[in-house]
Symmetry: C2
Subunit: 374 residues, 2 copies
């Protein structure tokens, strides 16, 4: 009930206020709230009491001016209405928070220039890092960020930029397993339902699927819709199932496409999956396990990706572009090698794991081989 005196001008208390009330220097206050700093128990308690009374909270905005760790991390995300992106966003925000990071999410709309604008914002807020899970920022913006001392992490979107960190899924193995699924189910002819969007991960999945199908000597048709959404799957079904002959198996490049394909196949073409034909998806979105779909698919390693991100953030390894490094200079060959190795390690860890469900005809052996993981 009793109101405390003093500047209640609805301005938050500062370290100076606390110092005054506790009768110590502002350095002492600062030390009390700094992890490894040396303060006597007595001082610390006085400070803590004063802080409590004034409802003091260290201003991380100000702290960020000198400490890199309390600077924000930017997350460039798009398609926030799509399940895959949500799952990744969920995993990333959890992990980054647990790591003590403040994460600012930048919604990168379909507008192709917005990724650049987002990176610009990241620059303005002195982000410790920019994590790109959607969009393709222009190369010069990425370079600006790196020059400003920022780490840039690209998730599932390989390009040839120097000095950026990449986190990628090993699509080669997943696509090989995908083809194997179809083979086990007795499929001879396949259709790959993809998109002409041409994002890096789409292209990678396509390439490896095609290669694996060829290796297995299967006949493969490729169909590409505009996007990778439910509607694209519907259109694929309408187009492909009207043809005089149907294939044995259909690999949908995303689960969303698979859901649309299955719905139209089932409700409009009276197709019985997996008896008439086999369907496979990718992403393991929640809907894939819904009864109407029960889709065999591949789960992205969402949590592993998120852990990778914090690993990268926490290694204060000198930026690769710091050419005039004053550590023991290594030869170009060695540097190259080290980077190579690191990339390979990283890649080898992130595997998409198969989720066996009922849209591919099963055989006992495969069921065993690909037991549900969790």
């Amino acid at each position: 009930m009793r109101k405390p005196k003093g500047p209640s001008k609805s301005r938050a208390a500062s370290a100076a206020d606390v110092a005054r009330l506790a009768g110590v220097s502002r350095s002492a206050v600062s030390r009390t709230f700094t992890d490894g700093a040396s303060v006597s128990t007595k001082t610390r308690e006085k400070v803590l009491a004063a802080a409590e009374e004034l409802n003091y909270h260290v201003n991380h905005l100000a702290r960020g001016l000198s400490q890199e760790k309390s600077r924000p991390v930017c997350l460039l995300a798009a398609n926030l209405d799509k399940p895959y992106h949500n799952l990744l966003l969920d995993a990333l925000t959890r992990q980054l928070q647990a790591d003590g990071r403040m994460v600012m999410v930048i919604n990168v709309s379909a507008d192709p220039t917005s990724a650049g604008e987002a990176l610009n914002r990241a620059l303005h807020y002195r982000a410790a890092a920019s994590i790109v899970m959607s969009g393709t920022p222009p190369e010069e913006m990425v370079q600006s960020c790196i020059k400003a001392g920022q780490k840039v992490i690209l998730i599932n979107r390989h390009n040839d930029l120097q000095d950026v960190h990449h986190i990628q899924i090993d699509y080669a193995q997943a696509m090989q397993e995908a083809v194997e699924f179809f083979v086990q189910a007795g499929c001879q002819t396949l259709t790959l339902i993809s998109s002409s969007k041409g994002t890096p991960s789409l292209l990678a999945r396509e390439r490896f699927f095609i290669r694996s199908a060829q290796e297995r000597g299967l006949q493969l048709t490729i169909w590409r819709g505009e996007n990778t959404n439910y509607e694209d799957g519907q259109l694929a079904a309408t187009t492909l199932l009207s043809k005089p002959t149907r294939d044995d198996g259909y690999f949908c490049i995303t689960d969303l496409v698979a859901c649309g394909f299955i719905d139209t196949a089932t409700h409009e073409y009276d197709v019985d999956i997996p008896n008439d034909l086999c369907v496979l998806g990718f992403d393991d979105i929640p809907q894939a396990s819904w009864k109407s779909y029960n889709l065999t698919t591949f789960a992205q390693p969402y949590n592993a990706i998120a852990e990778r991100v914090t690993d990268i953030l926490n290694c204060d390894q000198v930026n690769l572009n710091d050419q005039e490094s004053n550590e023991e200079p290594s030869t170009d060959a060695e540097r190259q090698n080290h980077t190579q190795t690191e990339k390979r390690d990283l890649r080898s860890k992130l595997q998409a794991t198969p989720k066996w469900r009922d849209t591919v005809r099963s055989t006992e052996s495969t069921l065993e081989q690909y037991a549900e993981v969790d």
Copy 2:
């Protein structure tokens, strides 16, 4: 190729650097990047050129120390893997960004204490506002935020806290329309499938639905699952459809529940919707329109909510808790009234709009009355 001299210590350029290069004072630099400030064209151009060369970007972290507008806004969100939350998050981040705000998303997990921790973070980062779309932060934390000069906005989660801004949907009307749907479809007995979670918006929907059903003299059963997810809908179907007699209509408190209910009803109980029974959902998540569900539901006014939020952020109306206001003092009655009016206005604007689809038996008249909105 040629490297510029100077401190390329991978430290970003500061206003001082720019001033030096341009041969002007740092005030001039500051003014050049401040909207209404007065700088001569000549100075501005020199500054701009120097800034360009040094790749200078105003440090918003530092700016936030004195300017409220460039301070971040915090968004407390949970269930980032659920469609409703994604749609709202999408709308909010878009709108806030368009308004020039930096938005930091805090993932409030199921842990009940995490909402408080999140608000604590908001305090540390001197957020201009905290927007709560999930979780129930403890009252004292909310008060701390407000005392620190922060605006607190609660979305769809009414409570009795003073001085916080509320954005709410008018569930009364939506629930009345829901009951009307069932009546039009010829239903006499209804079941309300809800959850025992007891969040404010759930309770409000329940209350108004019950009231409307009573007004219409319908027989109503209430069933509550643990949550409001797909699995809860499945369990509801298993439980309710095993009973000796079934009701005519089932109102699912969320679309996710409705999807689970429909899937189990269709695939396990061989129910034909809407001929055997009618189903209604709430939220209009993307899956509601998928062919397997084609669910009649109510769309949350996502964009209107987001616009409301920025409206609140941009009105610099003195905080309501500033009791010793030095404006012309108004009577308590007047203040009260004003707040009331504002709340009513706000509420009247945000309506859930019905989306007519095929899970309720239709009659021509209702089809006309509730034409698809967009």
